[in-house]
Assembly symmetry: C2
Homo-oligomer: 205 residues x 2
DNA sequence: GACTACATACCAACTGGTCGGTATCTAAAC
DNA sequence: GTTTAGATACCGACCAGTTGGTATGTAGTC
């Protein structure tokens, strides 16, 4: 029976689904154990505390999403701007199924625990920031290629895309559907297009 | 001692501050009573349940923010586009103090309870949507005035501004400061400016 | 005397967390 | 090649504290 380790993964999987649905605080250790089909002893064998599970869940989320976006087809475009716009199209295409299935784990968690649990906050920040960084490179390349002289930095635009997505998720939760989230991504895509449509030699502020 | 009614308001005030700091689920009735200086009997005299308090808090939030924005100076601008941009400047100027002091109550709450408490979800949606509606009128007027023919609707742009703000709050919570929130509002302001920038010469302000 | 606005005391269910125990594996000693 | 010692992976009973909620009482108002 030893040397298995399925309990840990089962608990993390249960955590992802449950926290995305009802939030971190409302998710109890007992509930997670029941869903994963393990006992409380197993939980505290693998995680020192509920908060440690939260950190592990955020880290696992980073791995999952990292792999999902790394393998996504939009990277194939030769033009860096096409890659950025392709990323947004990809994000929009991901808006399928029920709300808890397309919303963000770390965005949900960090909103609850940012003042009460620094470890989870850091893990969530790392997840969002690392994801934004993958976009930043394409934005920087596009800015260079198109000779855009502007006050905004690739880093701030990359983080802005994450802000729009996180906010779109909140509206989707408030309204109970993905439609407004899609509309917000459309606005963001239009913004990025406009930023790179700049007439030559004329700078935007 | 009777005919007072300060207990109810005290509980709601405590709820606003506490929920904005640690979230809805992590906020206990006992804690709220202690902060408001009343007993549990008083709590359940004024509110049928914790969830009912959540609804009341969202409704009170609508009133507070409604008054704050109704009295804001940006309404004085004659040009409707200036009013819209003035709104964004106002939102940016509101980013002062600690994170729990400038973030949004209903955005925080709805993320936690959207699947578990339809009443609170509705109250939060109503708060966000009503606020967006006040912006929508100015956007519609500006769109007409500047003769903008575009696929986007005033309603979707108004909701998009709310998405950006809510997302900016999440990033602020993740990073522990208002700076990225301000940067995101800058991007949003630039987007709105670009939308109303006519291709042939005439721009704005 | 009916009603409002609380206070006090209490409760069952649940909370995160602990602890002693057991089964299985690995690796080194003999 | 067998024994042994230690680590890993789990189980399940238990615990003290907290949870939202209730039942009853009481003081002032109309």
């Amino acid at each position: 029976m030893a040397r298995d380790g399925t309990a840990r993964q089962g608990l993390i999987d249960a955590a992802l689904a449950t926290i995305r649905t009802k939030g971190y605080a409302a998710t109890s250790v007992d509930e997670l154990c029941a869903k994963a089909g393990v006992t409380k002893g197993a939980f505290f064998h693998h995680f020192a505390s509920k908060d440690a599970l939260g950190v592990a869940a955020a880290e696992h989320w980073s791995e999952i999403t990292g792999a999902l976006f790394a393998d996504a087809p939009y990277h194939k475009h030769k033009d860096p701007l096409d890659r950025v716009l392709g990323y947004l199209d990809f994000r929009k295409a991901l808006l399928k199924g029920a709300v808890p299935e397309f919303t963000c784990l770390v965005g949900t968690m960090v909103q609850e625990v940012y003042e009460t649990n620094p470890d989870i906050r850091r893990a969530c920040d790392a997840s969002i920031s690392a994801h934004a960084a993958t976009l930043e490179a394409d934005i920087a390349e596009a800015k260079k290629k198109y000779g855009i002289k502007a006050a905004w930095t690739p880093a701030s635009l990359a983080l802005h895309t994450q802000a729009v997505l996180q906010g779109a998720f909140i509206l989707a939760k408030a309204k109970g559907g993905a439609d407004i989230a899609a509309a917000s991504i459309d606005h963001l895509r239009r913004y990025v297009s406009l930023l790179f449509q700049q007439p030559k030699g004329k700078a935007l502020s």
